[in-house]
């Protein structure tokens, strides 16, 4: 399936959970937050949340800033 991840077009297998997506990206256990189609996906639901084709996904973290 086709998704938009941090602004880039990407291909992933169907029926992927949010936690599987993060694992594929090597981000498991990192301190980050996930937004799908402008809705926050809480960390507690990463296992059960299934990514849908066409989802717009943002993965963010904290960096230096004023």
């Amino acid at each position: 399936m086709h998704i938009i991840l941090n602004g880039d077009q990407r291909e992933f297998p169907d029926s992927l959970s949010a936690s599987q997506l993060l694992q594929d990206l090597g981000l498991t256990g990192k301190r980050l937050a996930l937004e799908i189609n402008r809705e926050i996906v809480p960390r507690s639901t990463f296992e059960s949340h299934i990514i849908q084709p066409g989802d717009q996904i943002e993965i963010v973290h904290a960096i230096g800033g004023g």
Binding site: P42, E58, V60, H61
Partner: protein
Amino acid sequence: MSTVMHPSAAVSGDPLIIAGVEYHSRLLVGTGKYKDMEETRAATEASGAEIVTVAIRRTNIGQNADEPNLLDVISPQQYTLLPNTAGCYTAEDAIRTCRLARELLDGHDLVKLEVLGDEKTLFPDIMQTLQATEVLVKDGFKIMVYTNDDPIVAKRFEELGCVAVMPLAAPIGSGLGIRNPYNIMTIVENATVPILVDAGVGTASDAALAMELGCDGVLMNTAIAGARDPVLMASAMKKGIEAGREAYRAGRIPRKRFASASSPIDGTFF
């Protein structure tokens, strides 16, 4: 509201209280523009700050997987992190950023709201900032709001429920110092929430002046990170803030046009 003691505010007769939490330091610092994580860590430590701003940005996907994480050097256990909506030009983007930050930091709801109007000045877009404030207050956020030095607008943010109001001294990163001390003084006099100068200070005397005007604290980033020696400047700012605060509490003498001798006239033998 009960007052919670910040771990490092153990002994202080003059705490800064924001949203019911006591802080010992009145200097708040940003973590941008440093050359590396070690400099960020060292300057932040030298500043004595307890509240430290961070930005929320996209994670790099598939590159630099092992790059150092800011939160490894600025630990959420040691510092009160203040996620900031810098770079947002609409209320909607600022609201999204705050919600992502709250999720990222496990429900932490103290945020710095900043909605910019213009890339050249980085002045706040007050209309957008007001809109974002209304939504975020209803959503349970504790907002420290970046605004201009307009006393009417500052009061409005307080009435909307912001836990601190943070007028600029001068444009972000400009180092011009406090351009409108009378407005800052009026904002302080009108306020019942902490007023912190946010942005525009250049050196320690600017920070001291903000405190002498009665501000409750100062938030800065570029003045430290952009100095030739950021760690030394962080230390200077800490002292400037402390000196300015003590001078404000001590009450300065009135300005007079002519001299007033320090030694008594009585008892002179000449």
